[in-house]
């Protein structure tokens, strides 16, 4: 190695080390801090144990959001007559979230003869991965209510948010030339307060989908966790601050925690249940949001663009020297 090449080499190494220093594992520099819960955060507490699977919520959701119900009968199995109870034009067909279903009730078996309902929808994460991932800031989180919504004027349709969302919530209009990204936005356009709030909660007959400030919902959730099977509890219906409630007996012991209180930094839609959460399709995840891990890394590498600039200066000098020789 002659002298010039050694000097060029040193410059590259200096810059390269800076980049490499950033590429060391997360625990070496840590994820960035988790976002704070917005002051006025609103949300939903879904209690799987009192859900009766009537799907009034998803019907109301469609109505509120101006979506046509899909009442085509399911196709009969090959060679079979139309199965009974599937008369076209009556039942809304819904299997999973889709551009036509912002929420859906699914039934999961617990593997031991029992079953549990689960209400799928956007969880309105406190530290949303979709928002962190979106290259053009199409997802935003309302600083007051914490509602996570999508901006049609910004979105380029890259679908990186789909990769990022831990709950696989966003849905794409795969069969359209001009597709949208769709998901629940907590009925934000019609929200006024106690009179008009999330349609799914407003229509829920049992209070399984309960609307309200996140803090109040958490408090209610903690109360329920303390209840023993057979105990009586006055379950609020609709809005936790509203006037309606109904007294019911706790059927089965609750799982030991409120899903979404801490998971991935917390969510504003939270779940209670007696069937293990993983069986309800909720992933077993830690408390650190993935957005914090990936942003922590990205910030270390690109903080003030210092590392890239140092590297660039070194490379510029090296390239200049070798081309002008």
């Amino acid at each position: 190695m002659d002298k010039t090449s050694r000097r060029g080499f040193m410059k590259v190494v200096a810059g390269g080390t800076l980049i490499a220093a950033g590429a060391t594992p997360a625990h070496a520099f840590g994820p960035r801090e988790t976002r704070k819960t917005p002051e006025e955060a609103i949300g939903i507490l879904y209690d799987s144990t009192i859900c009766i699977g009537c799907r009034a919520c998803s019907a109301a959701c469609k109505q509120r959001n101006g979506i046509q119900a899909d009442t085509a009968a399911p196709a009969a199995p090959a060679g079979a007559a139309q199965p009974p109870g599937t008369i076209p034009g009556i039942w809304d067909k819904q299997e999973d979230l889709s551009p036509e279903n912002y929420t859906v009730i699914q039934m999961h078996t617990d593997g031991a003869g029992g079953f549990g309902f689960m209400k799928k929808q956007c969880m309105h994460c406190i530290d949303p991965a979709c928002m962190s991932a979106c290259p053009v800031s199409a997802f935003s989180k309302d600083p007051e209510t914490g509602i996570v919504s999508w901006n049609k004027n910004a979105c380029i349709g890259c679908r990186y948010c789909f990769v990022a969302c831990p709950f696989v919530v966003p849905r794409f209009e795969w069969n359209r030339a001009f597709p949208r990204v769709t998901k629940c936005e907590l009925c934000k356009t019609t929200y006024t307060g106690l009179d008009c709030y999330a349609a799914c909660c407003q229509s829920c007959p049992t209070g399984a989908a309960l609307f309200g400030p996140r803090e109040a919902l958490l408090e209610e959730g903690r109360k329920r966790l303390a209840l023993k099977p057979g105990a009586w509890h006055d379950y609020p219906i609709g809005h936790i601050k509203g006037a309606h409630s109904s007294a019911k007996q706790v059927a089965k012991a609750y799982n030991a925690r409120i899903y979404g209180e801490k998971e991935l930094g917390g969510t504003q839609v939270m779940i209670l249940g007696s069937v293990p959460f993983e069986k309800l399709g909720l992933p077993a995840v830690g408390d650190v949001p993935n957005s914090a891990i990936s942003e922590g890394l990205q910030h270390t590498l690109y903080k003030g663009m210092i590392a890239p600039l140092v590297l660039f200066a070194g490379l510029l000098a090296a390239a200049y020297r070798s081309t002008k020789q």
């Binding site: 980049i19 590429a23 594992p25 290259p135 590297l311 660039f312 020297r321 081309t323």
Partner: protein, 380 residues
């Protein structure tokens, strides 16, 4: 260093049989691409909400640009490490890179669901610097342009020799950018999947992804130069440049050896290595990936074996497959979005990718025949 006398055009007929075959595939793909803009992405692809990124990203962008890293990897040697004797390899490597990156950009434009909104990437108030994808988008666009500028002397020499002085005077800036930008976006292509969290198998999910992607893309770059050079030597009936390629290939075991050591230490430190021994799809793919990495490390470590064109060619190919399968595993195979989501590319989706690759091959063949790209044969 503008030794335009160091390169020569291959000449010869353009409409050869491989060229025509490539043209036919490209035409079929073009029809499907057109269809995509009328009926949406669903009918021409196997993508879904669980696997919202398919082979157009995993292959065309992630693998395609890693394979296109030849220009970057050789530039690092020639300019940053002052190994001028590798200069004859630069041009063809840049050309492959330029095509690889252009192909990636084209795929992205087909893949973007709401392409008419792409200008938002340039609106300062919309830019999301937290997003790995934003960094990649900007860097890849810039680097594609840089690659063509770096390659431009080959065009200018032929059509506007008078401009050569100006271009060459400022070339060092582009050369430096050509080393900086891939360092940034190739590592970010690894960072991209960190946010998928639990959905990516612990066999691949790690904050080391950016470092792993960076080091393997450089190794793939050298492997591609070796592969391409031997391939075109045979194809154009030129003497093999084995000694130079053998020396270049000698770097690969170092890079991949360091990579593999880091990879296994990292896996073991997280206690995830056990997953490799559950012989399910992920476990099997993990071993295929890593055995393909081990082959070039072992084979190319010996100078004598490196001197053998056949061995050299096959081990370079193994390194290329290893890096490609690694990327497929991170982007598709290791991804488990939950209940029932499955993905396999549809035939239209595959055909579109093949069509774009065909276009790349046509472009490459056309340009090396017309312009001075491949190293001049010394008739001594």
């Amino acid at each position: 260093m503008s030794h335009h006398d160091a390169f020569e055009p291959m000449g010869g007929k353009i409409l050869t049989r491989p060229f025509v075959a490539a043209a036919v595939i490209f035409m079929l793909a073009a029809v499907l691409i057109l269809k995509r803009f009328f009926v949406g992405l669903g009918p021409v692809s196997g993508m879904n909400d669980g696997f919202a990124l398919g082979i157009w990203i995993a292959y065309d962008v992630v693998v395609g640009t890693a394979i296109g890293c030849g220009g970057y990897a050789v530039a690092l040697l020639v300019y940053a490490f002052n190994r001028g004797h590798y200069h004859p390899l630069v041009r063809s490597a840049l050309l492959t890179g330029a095509f690889g990156y252009t192909l990636a950009g084209t795929s992205v434009m087909i893949d973007l669901g709401r392409y008419w909104n792409t200008y938002n990437l340039f609106l300062p108030w919309r830019m999301n610097f937290n997003s790995a994808l934003f960094e990649i988008a900007m860097c890849v666009m810039a680097y594609t342009a840089v690659l063509w500028v770096e390659f431009s002397p080959a065009i200018i020499e032929k059509f506007k020799p008078a401009w050569a002085a100006v271009v060459n005077r400022w070339m060092f800036v582009f050369i430096a950018l050509g080393m900086l930008l891939p360092t940034m976006h190739q590592s970010s292509l690894g960072s991209l999947m960190i946010i998928s969290g639990h959905k990516l198998s612990p066999l691949w999910q790690t904050t080391w992804l950016p470092a792993f992607f960076l080091i393997t893309c450089i190794a793939m770059g050298y492997a591609m130069v070796v592969f391409e050079s031997l391939w075109s030597s045979v194809g154009f009936g030129r003497p093999l440049e084995t000694p130079m390629l053998a020396r270049l290939a000698g770097i690969i075991p170092w890079l991949l050896g360091i990579y593999l050591a880091g990879r296994f230490v990292e896996l073991a430190s997280r206690g995830a290595l056990g997953l490799a021994f559950q012989f399910n799809l992920c476990g099997v793919m993990f071993w295929i990936e890593n055995i393909l990495y081990i082959i070039p490390i072992v084979v190319l470590a010996s100078a004598q074996r490196r001197g053998e064109p056949r061995t050299l060619f096959l081990s370079a190919l193994s390194a290329l497959f290893a890096g490609s399968i690694y990327r497929f595993n991170v982007y598709l195979v290791g991804l488990y979005p939950g209940f029932g989501w499955r993905y396999f590319p549809s035939s239209s989706e595959l055909l579109i990718t093949f069509g774009l690759i065909s276009f790349e091959i046509m472009g490459y063949l056309f340009i090396v025949k017309q312009l001075s790209v491949l190293p001049k044969v010394e008739h001594a």
